[in-house]
């Protein structure tokens, strides 16, 4: 039971990390132009920040 009480919060915490990461990508407009982002990597000398 002790190991469970340690692992359960850890797994929930890792899940939360995932949600937080997703939230961050969402906040930074990373899903606004999937086709453009895929194409933009092929261009030279382009800044790769989403606008």
């Amino acid at each position: 039971m002790n190991i469970f009480m340690m692992l359960a919060p850890m797994s929930v915490f890792l899940g939360l990390l995932g949600v937080a990461g997703f939230w961050w990508t969402l906040r930074h407009d990373q899903y606004d132009d999937p086709a453009g982002d895929a194409a933009r990597i092929l261009l030279d000398g382009d800044d790769d920040r989403p606008l």
Partner: protein, 725 residues
Amino acid sequence: MALIEELSSAPDHSAFLRPGAGGRPALELLVKGARCAGCMSKIERGTADLAGVAQARLNLTSGKLTVTFDDTAHADPGAVVRLLDRLGYPATPYDPGLACEASDREGRRLVLCLAVAAFGAMNTMMFSVPLWAGLFGQELGPATRVVMQWWCALVATPCVLFAGRPFFESAWRSLKARRANMDVPISIGVLLTLVISFSETLQHGRDAYFDAAVSLLFLLLIGRWLDHQLKLRARSAAGDLLALQAPAAVLIGPDGAERRTPLSEVQVGDLLIVRPGERVPVDGLVESGATELDNALLTGETMPVSLRPGEVCRAGALNLTGAIRLRALARSEDSAVAAIARLVEAGAQSRSKYVQLAERAAAIYVPVVHSAALATFLIGWAGGLGPREALLRAVAVLIITCPCALGLAVPAVQISASSRLFRRGVLLKSGAALERLAEVDHVVFDKTGVLTEGRPALIGAGGDEIALAARLARASLHPLAKALAAAAGPGPRADDVVETPGQGVEGAIDGRRARLGRAEFVGAGSAAALETELWFGFEGAPPVRFQFSDRLRPDAAQTIAQLKARGLAVSIISGDAASPVAAAAQAAGVNDWRACLTPVGKCAIVDDLQAKGARVLMVGDGLNDMGALARAHAAMAPGAALDASQNAADLVFSGDNLSAVVEAFDIARQARRLALQNFGFAAAYNLVAAPAAMLGLINPFLAALAMSGSSLAVTLNALRLRSRR
């Protein structure tokens, strides 16, 4: 006489500038045809190299180009549009408006809720699996069970409260308006489930449904998100009717100076100048100058109309050959274009009353489920169960019948139909449009630009004359000259070209004077001066005749035959003269046709048909069709149509194939069949599951299984639409 230089003057787009990042003026353009990294780099670099442009950024997914200028004084939106045109990507400026931005925020919120619900569903499940095992006689002591249940509660409760907000808020709004939408039973079900689960956990019972509450929201949010995606696609597909009108008019002041004025400030009696290539801004009387007007989008007439001083021209017509001075006869909002815009508005209102399948299902579903749950509680209590046990059964009924399958049934079908249509080059603008299209039993076609290619093409003649005449033709905007130039392919222009409005062009080819135009202009005598022909001749030499006709689309006849084979009635309504309409109708195999119709006349015909009980699909492209497009039960427009007509239509098909109409109709019918199947499945599921819940046969494991199972079945059924054929 109009000089060629004037042809290059383009409409003024400065009305579309708006303050962008850092207070600098920005322009948003909808760019057509950009598909790859190469296009993107060409467009962005080309635009950024223009004088006064600070930054250009293309969104390849939505096709929107945002151009930021250094300052207002040096901003020249016209230069950007001309450059894009030259690069081969036609662009329209548009006003993004607040609606689009707001809906984007709504979309993000849904995605975030979806992510939280997914996290909640997965992590609650981690603690639920031991609980389920306990239900089936595996070793699980009461102490461990309570610990697991508390863990479930800890993870699920915040997730439910966060991810459920879209439903709670919508339910609250609808309750305040004294109505009950689908979100009311969802919210009540979810919140009641949470409360009951807490009470069960506190009383060391076995029926805690934390996992059900959160996975329910997860499944429902998928449906909600798909629905939102469809709406978003619809909105970004819509253009702006005002983009069609010249956004500014050129006013001639009392001192003779020209001044650009916003359209809304033009008063009756103002003197305006309209150059070739511009659209007539308001209805007006010609004071001086002569030209030809392309009324195709206003009336559907194929041939340009010549215009002389003292005659009246309508707003929205395209000036082709010469500059004219106009005395404004109406203000912008009273002009012909604005009148058509009002027809569209009225049509859109009547169409918004359409009740979608899912709403109809919800109207039946909500009262039935709630009375069933209430009945379970009352009968259970009266029948000797304790209040706790009776309440548990009522909640089990609410959970098991919660409309996951129902909520997914329609959006899942519509999104797969929409992506299949998209692969065929048809853009669907709303889910409701698909349902309306499936109900259609009468198809009404416009002629010009829909059944026909909408532009004259050279027929018959051939030989060296084409190449020579094309040198003159390239200098003119006249549709016949353009057709001749297109038939000849790229080549040089003649020298010293002068265009006489309404007559033709004259210039020097290899040092010899030559003329291209009407019979009398070229000197062929007025033997048979048809509108659909051009004469070409060198000075002193006998002229040659070129004939043109607006060709029927190659698959028009076949498409109409296929529509008839599906039991649909077909008619043609056109603003063009009777003889070309009759010819096109005969060639296409349609007996029912009407010609010489005004935009209002087209609306009246569509209204009349619908009053007789027909459900009309209108297929049209011009401004004169817009009223009819907006009023018809469903509407389609070709991709070459005016942005404003595409706006009024439900579906837009690209490419030259009219057969897209048949395909779209077939897909709509299939989608309707699948949606009804899904409803049937959801009903059958509820017929089995609800009585089981009423009898208390449901435990948390079965609830989770039934819920995700039914949602999965409905989704897989919807996916069949993607793979068929």
